[in-house]
């Protein structure tokens, strides 16, 4: 049986996706611990041994999720990579493509 995904949007424009099949195999559940730190939003909880929202996806999207990125970074450091926190910047991507076409190199690509 697949567990599917936990997926919700965030206020600033972006999306958080938990691959719950991966999360089920994770021993640390570091994302839930990170989200429930005293100074953070406490959006996540454990339900059936995988992350779940304490609120509706609509509430999370209206600002219930404070976009602290703690879940994703905790997952990268101590979990097994089940979270994708995407924060798209299409205009910047287009700008970087234009720079590339002009032969300009952004600061972060400097070798």
């Amino acid at each position: 049986m697949t567990r599917g995904r936990l997926q919700f949007s965030v206020f600033s424009g972006g999306e958080v996706i938990f691959d719950l099949d991966t999360c089920a195999q994770c021993r640390s559940k570091a994302c839930v611990a990170a989200c429930n730190a005293p100074n953070l939003a406490c959006v996540l909880m454990l339900k059936d041994d995988v992350p779940a929202l304490r609120m509706s996806a609509q509430e999370a999207a209206r600002g219930g999720c404070i976009e602290c990125l703690a879940c994703e970074l905790a997952c990268e450091a101590d979990g097994i990579g089940g979270i994708t926190f995407s924060l798209p910047m299409p205009e910047l991507d287009a700008y970087l493509r234009d720079m590339d076409a002009r032969g300009e190199v952004p600061g972060f690509k400097r070798v």
Binding site: V10, F11, S12, L87, L96, G107, F108
Partner: protein
């Protein structure tokens, strides 16, 4: 301060019932010709740039027929006025002007109230010509600016009769436009007297940046806090970050977008971000004497989200030719761990292997600063030889010195390579 282009300002005036010359903006000579055919010759061609003194700078021309229009509009489109490339022209029916007045409403910090100013002699060089004959009155906002206030004001300028009433009505309407649109300045100069009555021949509107969110209809790229020039592409991208999220700020302005200033002064361009404007300026004061010139100013304060930091850091690091990045917080009460997470995510995504390849000094001082610093260790960023982390006992001078030393090491290795 956000500035509207003339044609945008005139739309607001028209909506308030103030007469303006018939006309439309054109983005090409062909469009200008079509508009002139519609409104009839002679026409005025006015460069749409957010700068004053366009007449003196050659940004206004007149055409009596299609041949003249094609020639003059073509020349204007290739023109640059006060560093603004002319991308659109306002094509207007040329007015037969009998007299030119000056009328403005401005936010007056000295009076802590709006001030309405009228001068009998307006037009070019009004700052000089109106020095002696301008009249003004401060407005009590609990009362407003009523017709009798306007009549009294303009009568003091020596105007009487029907013209007095017509001008007073324009003044009351201009005050309404000023209030409704959260202006800092609403100016009509010249307010031209024609056979048909007063007409706003030119207009300048400066808007309160902090109220722009209440006016999503102001879509002009000119609207923004970059002073008299137009936004750079990266400034436009950064402005959208704040526009999409009210939580905390990410004010990003390019000081030296092309790097020309740094090159002319023999300085090194770097990317910069500070939590708090005061600490940012103090740190710039320390960096500049050491031979660096931040390509940008950025203030990420007011407890912004980590996602906002992630996005603005990507913008800062996208600047070409930067030889480093400095982040510094004031002794801040904002959650610096959130700030750090945004920077960590950006570093991990943009730098090859997640480790900076340019000198980066990051100084966290304030709430959750130790948690913030630990995140760079946890994610392997602190292992980079080009990263220096500093904590709450650090001064701005020490941050600048640390960056200088790190940059010198990085530079010598680059030269050796």
């Amino acid at each position: 301060m956000a500035k509207l282009l003339e044609y945008e300002a005139k739309r607001l005036l028209q909506a308030a019932g103030i007469a303006t010359p018939s006309g439309k903006p054109a983005a090409s000579v062909r469009e200008a010709l079509a508009i002139a055919e519609e409104i009839g010759y002679p026409v005025a061609l006015k460069a749409q740039v957010p700068a004053g003194g366009r007449g003196k700078a050659g940004g206004i021309a007149f055409a009596g027929d299609a041949r003249e229009l094609a020639e003059r509009a073509g020349a204007l489109f290739g023109h640059t006025i006060q560093r603004h490339a002319v991308r659109s022209l306002l094509v207007e029916r040329r007015l037969a002007i009998e007299a030119e007045h000056y009328l403005a409403v401005l936010s007056n910090p000295a009076a802590r109230a709006p001030t309405v100013i009228f001068a009998r002699k307006g037009g070019i060089d009004v700052e000089d010509t109106a020095r002696d004959d301008a009249v003004s009155c401060d407005v009590d906002l609990t009362v407003g600016f009523r017709l009798h206030h306007a009549l009294d004001l303009i009568r003091r300028a020596g105007i009487s009769g029907r013209v007095l009433v017509a001008l007073a009505q324009v003044a009351v309407r201009l005050f309404e436009v000023y209030r409704r649109n959260d202006c800092m300045l609403a100016e009509i100069n010249p307010l031209a007297m024609t056979a048909q009555g007063p007409v706003a021949a030119d207009a300048r509107f400066d808007l309160d940046d902090d109220a722009l969110f209440r006016h999503p209809d102001f879509t002009s790229e000119e609207a923004g806090d970059v002073g008299a020039r137009t936004r750079t592409p990266l400034e436009s991208i950064a402005a959208r970050i704040d526009a999409n999220d009210h939580r905390g700020s990410a004010h990003f302005i390019q000081i030296d977008p092309t790097g020309a200033l740094a090159a002319s002064e023999g300085r090194v361009s770097i990317g910069f971000d500070g939590v708090g404007t005061g600490v940012s300026l103090t740190t710039l004061d320390e960096l500049v004497p050491l031979g660096f010139l931040p390509k940008n100013f950025c203030d990420t304060s007011g407890n912004p989200t980590a996602s906002k930091l992630y996005r603005i850091t990507r913008v800062i690091l996208a600047q070409p030719d930067i030889e480093g990045y400095v982040f510094i917080s004031c002794l801040s009460s904002q959650q610096l761990d959130n700030t750090a997470r945004g920077i960590v995510k950006a570093f991990k995504e943009v730098f090859p292997g997640g480790q900076p390849n340019i000198p980066c000094v990051l100084c966290f001082r304030g709430a959750w600063d130790e948690t913030a610093l630990a995140l760079f260790d946890e994610h392997g960023i602190a292992d980079s030889p080009w990263v220096r982390l500093m904590g709450r006992d650090t001064t701005e001078r020490e941050v600048a010195s640390a960056f200088r030393d790190l940059h010198a090491r990085w530079r010598s290795r680059e030269i050796a390579a």
